[in-house]
Symmetry: C2
Subunit: 189 residues, 2 copies
DNA sequence: GGCTATTTTTGACATAAATCAAAAAGTGCA
DNA sequence: TGCACTTTTTGATTTATGTCAAAAATAGCC
């Protein structure tokens, strides 16, 4: 699994730990449009995206579907509000493409982190990574124009443009689908 | 110190660990307007805000001062981009009021976390807390109006309104100072 | 305690992006 | 291969918020 080499890159793992991890992750093949997680549910799994694309989204007060983020290949995924606070989640998660995931119960993750310092470190690394990413996103949403935010997305996740429908990308960027369409066709410079 | 009881609440600490922590934190009294950290510098300290208020801000491409966040009493603070990536920071940090902080070298924090599982847990808790907070902020900036974002701030950090100048709050909310002034005077409903 | 300097408010106007609506293009499937 | 359904584009109009400028209010200080 690709997963192991990624973990190993973050913090070196003993063969024993590696074996244990491999034993716990279960392969899941999901078809396009499959809903892995529904808002209101507790999330009890950690996922690793081997192949495919996940979309995390929520419904706002008006019932509009808003994309919170995309999870591409080689990323870990879990529903943070549910996991961190042990409460029903605001978010939904769907596969935007046929996807291959590896999943592990979060209860197992907790045990592994207790048992192996090295995995606790990996976990911290991942948290820090997401925290940095989120702060960049806040910065962008604070004062960058729609065009600039689109440009940033093009740099960071260029494939998303081809892989996800326009409406999903637009809400991720905090704009309407019409505005995104116009940005693409360069009506705005 | 308040600090210890807060840590203890997150994960129970042995007396030994508590003593060690107390020994490492150094009290710092800073006058209003003191700049604790300048962009381009490496941040090498963890802070705990005992009294007062910190503002983390950066200068955008146009040289405009943008508030990234406020750090109130009983919160931990460090400059995340610098600490997580060991590189010069984008951010500046200033005391908005006369403040009492406790500080510890980040190198000591790293050592403590290696040595004491309980502290590693506290660290994870704090990271998770900030991550949740940031995701709420992203949600707000994605599609809430200026008025709604202001209302949210009023709920979450009501004292900020009195403690920080308008311009700082405005940029934190991602709006101009004029718009914030109008929101306050209810020209917008 | 009066005088600058700074911060906040107010006003007039400009503009990016939203909204509403409908046409065009693309996609899936019988 | 054609037809329904979905997604994207385009157009006309509105609106929230930005910009620029100046007045009013507030705060710091000799």
């Amino acid at each position: 699994m690709n997963l192991i080499s990624i973990l190993n890159n973050i913090a070196p793992l003993s063969t024993e730990v590696q074996q244990e991890i491999i034993g716990l992750f279960k392969k899941e093949c999901l078809p396009r449009h499959h809903l892995l997680h529904r808002n209101g549910d507790l999330c009890n799994k950690l996922y690793f995206v081997e192949k495919g694309l996940l979309r995390i989204f929520y419904y706002n007060d008006l019932g509009k579907d808003i994309t919170y983020r995309f999870q591409e290949e080689n990323q870990f995924h879990t529903v943070i509000d549910s996991y961190f606070q042990q409460k029903p989640s605001l978010y939904n998660v769907e596969a935007l493409e046929d996807s291959i995931l590896y999943s592990m119960p979060l209860s197992e993750l907790d045990k592994l982190r207790e048992k192996h310092l090295s995995l606790q470190k990996v976990y911290i690394f991942v948290l820090q990574h997401f925290l940095l990413e989120n702060s960049e996103r806040i910065t962008a949403l604070q004062f960058h124009s729609a065009q600039e935010r689109y440009n940033t997305l093009m740099e960071k996740q260029p494939l998303i443009i081809q892989r996800a429908p326009l409406g999903h990308i637009a809400s991720y960027l905090g704009i309407t689908q019409e505005t995104l369409s116009r940005i693409r066709s360069r009506i705005y410079s």
